[in-house]
Every structure is written in structure tokens, then in C-alpha cells.
């Protein structure tokens, strides 16, 4: 083994290290922030709710989360400056009044990963809801992270 081979091996090692450093950056798996994902159920069965409109009370410009859509799931974004958010579920159906869901929570700034960056995680401390079309709500894991999984189960009547 001569110095010439040593030099070549060193070059190969440097190129491999540079490639490895470049390839170690993966894409973010999950959301870019902590956000609850609510899903609708009847009993143990997931269901779709037709003509559903959802919005947050106090959102700027009365912006809607979903607008008159058939939905089985809906993201409920939480405010980072308040400790409580209220959402209205409008079923756009005669004879069924709107439901309101209130989520009370605490928030924690969190650095998830190099790929996903920094965000807020939330801990749901309590919740309330009206009972026009909703039977009950379950939040089995109150910690809301950026993981793209159902965290709020809304059981319909």
C-alpha cells in the first residue's frame, strides 16, 4: 500500500462523508405544528358527516376551517395566544342546530426535529360541547403533537 493509495482512500472517505451529511436530512413526517385531528364516530364505527361547516369563534375574517363539505375528519387549529378555543359545527340541515365545542389547554414550545423545526405542542386540560347532534367527545391522549393521528373522537347521536 503506497501513499498514492492512501491519498485516494482519503478522497473516497471525504466524498462519502460529504454525501452522508447531505443524505441524512429527511423530510418532516407529520404536521409542521401541533394540531388536533378530530374524527366522527357512531358507536365504534367511523362515519362521514354531510354538509358540514366548521369555524373557530373569533377567527380573523370569520374564516372557515371547512365549508359545507362531507367530512369524516377535521383539523381544529389551536390558538397560541389563548388558553381556550371554541369551534362551531354547522350541519347545514334543517332541524339540527349548530354544535359548539370548547377546548381548554396549555401550550409548550417544542423543537421536534431538524426537518420539522420548532412548533407548539398542546395539552388538552378539559373540554365541553353542546348536544344537538353530538353525543359525546373523547380525548384519549391529551398531548397534541405534530403527529398526524386522530386525537379527538366526536361521537354523533
Amino acid at each position: 500500500m503506497s501513499r498514492r493509495y492512501s491519498f485516494r482512500l482519503t478522497l473516497v472517505a471525504i466524498v462519502a462523508m460529504a454525501l452522508m451529511a447531505a443524505c441524512n436530512n429527511d423530510n418532516c413526517i407529520g404536521n409542521s405544528t401541533g394540531i388536533p385531528l378530530a374524527a366522527f364516530y357512531e358507536g365504534d364505527e367511523a362515519v362521514q358527516v354531510p354538509n358540514l361547516t366548521v369555524y373557530g369563534i373569533g377567527a380573523p375574517n370569520d374564516s372557515l376551517i371547512i365549508d359545507n363539505t362531507t367530512a369524516s375528519q377535521v383539523y381544529l387549529p389551536l390558538s397560541i395566544t389563548k388558553k381556550s378555543c371554541q369551534y362551531v359545527l354547522n350541519y347545514n340541515t334543517d332541524g339540527i342546530a349548530n354544535d359548539t365545542i370548547t377546548l381548554n389547554y396549555s401550550e409548550t414550545p417544542y423543537f421536534e426535529s431538524h426537518e420539522c423545526g420548532a412548533m407548539y405542542n398542546f395539552n388538552i386540560t378539559s373540554w365541553e360541547h353542546t348536544r344537538h347532534a353530538i353525543d359525546s367527545i373523547a380525548i384519549p391522549v391529551p398531548l397534541i403533537t405534530n403527529a398526524d393521528v386522530v386525537t379527538i373522537k366526536i361521537y354523533m347521536q
Binding site: 500500500m1 492512501s6 482512500l9 482519503t10 472517505a13 377567527a59 397560541i80 423545526g117
Partner: protein, 284 residues
């Protein structure tokens, strides 16, 4: 008179008996035979004179043991327990940083080469990181922090001179460190919110393991270069309330599974007078 005569006869008998025994001994030494065939044995060419003498004297077990020992010594040249000590500097990251890598570790190591085969080692070093990823709203700042690794190599070229080594090894590493996440921008478009914040002084520690293959080549005098490819994994690391570390000193990025190492070594031979001598040199 009668007693004198008996004494003379006894002495004569003893002398005769001794003569017969000597003759038998001489016969056994001169013509060793294989008992099963009665074929006269002749030693192969080049057999050590000492071994031939041991065979002729009838001590064949000792001769065979000596032969085996000599033969093994030829096949497996045995280096002394303390063959050499290598002091290394891990400098690969210094070069790769020039190609855009945002983190680096530098370590000094001591490797004891035992029998030119087993090589316990220890490495002490420091690592740091600073990165503001493209399209992301934060700066990761890993403060300079120490790490330690212990482990061992097995040199597959133990029959050859220690100047060239091809080895496999394992390492156990540990580091305790702190990091900041600065210039974080949080946008919450639905609620029309915007925040700028920092996470300071997050602390963590990590314990990890490495399996590696390496090549070490003497380049000049006592200096050698070493290349290593490592597969590593974290056994345990500490998450803080505000996050998980991206970079671990001595390990690299937390999600990385493979790594390369580049090191410069200075080797101090130990017990040099007990190293096996090459056959060619022996003949000269």
C-alpha cells in the same frame, strides 16, 4: 581367596551387562524405526538438528511438541502482549465542514495493540453544531460539549506487520451537552398569529453504540492514516420538555445511521525486540 575370586567374577559380570546395555542404546539411537512396519525413519530435509537428536534419544513426544510449536510460530507469528500504542486524531469533520456540513466532532484517541490482534481503545473529544436550514424558521446551536468513547478492535491482519491493519470494532459512546434553538418564527395562519421566540439552554445526554470496519495504513515513519465506516444507533437519549436534540457530539445527527471517520495516528512500538522476525531476515 575364594572371596576374591567371587568379587572378580561379579565385577566382570557387571561390566559385561553395562556393555550390552550401551550397545542396545547405540542400536536404538542409530536406527529409529516405525514400530508398525519396522521401516527405518529418516528425518525430512531441513529438520532442526535439535529435534533429530530428541527423536534419536527416544523422546519423541517432546520432539513432536517442539515441531508443532515451531510450525505454529511460522503460521501465526506471535506478537508480544503489548505490541504498540497508537495516538490518534479524528479530523474528518474538519474537511467535510468545508463541503457544507453544519456540525463537527474532533477527538483524540489512544489504542493499545495487544498481540497485534486485540485493540482496546478510548477516545475523548468535543463536538458542536450550528445550522439554519433552508426554508425553516429557526437556528440550531449546539454548544461545544465533550464526548467519550470506549471500545475495541479486532485486527484481521494479525499475522502481518502492524503497519497495515484491517479491523472490525465496537464502541460505546456517551455525551452530555446543551443546545439552543434561536430565531424561531411561529406562524399560525388560521388565527392570524405570529410569534418570535427562543429556546435557550436545553440539556440532553445520549448513550450510543457503534459497529465499525476500518483500515489503518502506515504512511511515513510512525505516522498512519485510518479510515472507518460505522453503523451506529442510540441506546438512550434525554428529551427535554422543549425538544429533542438534532446533533449529538461524537455521534452526529440523531437520525443518522451511518458515518465515516478519518484519523491520523502516531504509533509508538512497544516490546519491539520481541516482535517476530521475518523468515527472509532470519536466513540472512
Amino acid at each position: 581367596m575364594k572371596q576374591v575370586l567371587i568379587s572378580i567374577l561379579c565385577v566382570a559380570y557387571m561390566m559385561a551387562a553395562t556393555g550390552i546395555m550401551r550397545a542396545q542404546d547405540q542400536q536404538r539411537k542409530v536406527t529409529p524405526v516405525k514400530p508398525s512396519t519396522n521401516k527405518v525413519l529418516t528425518p525430512p530435509k531441513g529438520t532442526d538438528e535439535k529435534i533429530i537428536q530428541q527423536y534419536l534419544s527416544g523422546d519423541s513426544a517432546q520432539a513432536r511438541a517442539q515441531e508443532r510449536k515451531d510450525s505454529l510460530a511460522k503460521i501465526y507469528p506471535r506478537y508480544p502482549k503489548l505490541t504498540e500504542l497508537s495516538l490518534g486524531l479524528n479530523f474528518g469533520d474538519a474537511i467535510v465542514m468545508a463541503f457544507g456540513q453544519k456540525y463537527s466532532s474532533f477527538g483524540v484517541s489512544a489504542t493499545l495493540n495487544m498481540w497485534n490482534r486485540f485493540q482496546p481503545m478510548m477516545e475523548l473529544g468535543i463536538g458542536r453544531a450550528k445550522d439554519t436550514p433552508d426554508d425553516m424558521d429557526y437556528t440550531y446551536s449546539g454548544k461545544i460539549a465533550p464526548y467519550v468513547k470506549i471500545g475495541a478492535n479486532y485486527n484481521f491482519l494479525f499475522k502481518s506487520e502492524p503497519r497495515y491493519q484491517l479491523y472490525a470494532g465496537v464502541r460505546l459512546g456517551f455525551s452530555t451537552f446543551k443546545y439552543d434553538i434561536n430565531d424561531i418564527v411561529i406562524n399560525n395562519p388560521y388565527w392570524g398569529e405570529y410569534q418570535n421566540l427562543q429556546l435557550k439552554g436545553l440539556s440532553s445526554n445520549a448513550l450510543w453504540g457503534e459497529a465499525l470496519a476500518g483500515l489503518k495504513v502506515n504512511i511515513a515513519s510512525n505516522w498512519s492514516l485510518g479510515w472507518e465506516v460505522k453503523f451506529h444507533g442510540i441506546f438512550k437519549y434525554k428529551k427535554s420538555e422543549n425538544g429533542k436534540p438534532w446533533y449529538i457530539p461524537g455521534y452526529g445527527t440523531r437520525n443518522g445511521k451511518w458515518a465515516f471517520g478519518l484519523s491520523l495516528y502516531y504509533t509508538i512500538p512497544l516490546s519491539r525486540d520481541r516482535w517476530p522476525v521475518k523468515e527472509e531476515k532470519k536466513k540472512k
